[in-house]
Symmetry: C2
Subunit: 144 residues, 2 copies
DNA sequence: TATTGTTATACTCTATAACTATA
DNA sequence: TATAGTTATAGAGTATAACAATA
């Protein structure tokens, strides 16, 4: 395979793989029937590892601080998060996942995974093996 | 491999693969620097194959007809689409991509593909082969 | 009478600017 | 003086309900 052709095939792969990933991402949201808006789910996910300040959450989701204030208030009213005083900075606070928040998040993850499992169920074992390897590769390139 | 273990591995794969696809989808949007909002890009993409009525566009993107009216008006003001009379239905119209719309869309696709190419560039040939096969499998399961 | 698209209106998420409290 | 978060206000995208024109 020539250098040029190799490059060309990378570009084709880049386009096809990107579009396939975007399709999966879009359809899992539409078709898994979540009760959780994307930006709400996104915040709750980030609280799984532990408490975060509103500022951290805003930066992680690339939205403004006032927008995150609103989102956190909304999640708190729904009982999905609580806020605590920050242990070392009196200006700040910590947002933590409640039991209800964790339960709803678990259900959301499960619904999305169920959708994906249904899609994968028709595949042969060697095809699943290819996807396992591909997932590892994707995670590796995403670290860049 | 037992049945139970096989099922378990499918669930793990489903979760890992879904999250990897969502990461790709999210990061390609954030990091490829598009001038085109997602819902605008989505409409322009659907016009690549040919003209569509506003109703068709609304249904394809799962938004209401009034929302699509607004989006089409906005795209028309930016010169990215034009509207024509529908040839056989006087109530309807056809939305068509302009030359400027096609140019911007091409640039958007190229920026996203370039992002993906950069991610893939460190991989070996056999790893790229795995991703080519995986892409085919993803497209197959997405047809379901 | 049913359907396509638009207008009227309202709600949500986003942003920037101005403000309060603390570092 | 700088920083974390909130409040005030506005813009954009979405929705439902009511309306116009055509099938």
């Amino acid at each position: 395979m020539s250098y040029a052709k190799h490059m060309d095939s990378i570009q084709h792969l880049a386009n096809d793989l990107r579009m396939a990933c975007q399709q999966v991402s879009r359809r899992v949201r539409f078709e898994s029937g979540s009760e959780l808006a994307p930006h709400h789910a996104s915040v709750l996910f980030k609280l799984l590892d532990g408490p975060r300040t509103p500022g951290e959450l805003a930066e992680l989701d690339r939205i403004s601080a006032p927008s995150m204030t609103r989102t956190v208030n909304c999640l708190a009213e729904r009982g999905l998060v609580d806020t605590r005083d920050h242990p070392s900075d009196g200006r700040s606070k910590l947002v933590v996942l409640t039991e209800a928040g964790r339960t709803l998040l678990d259900a959301t993850v499960q619904a999305r995974d169920d959708w994906m499992v249904r899609k994968l169920q028709g595949l042969a074992k060697d095809e699943l093996t290819v996807l396992v390897e591909a997932t590892g590769l994707l995670n590796r390139v995403l670290e860049q």
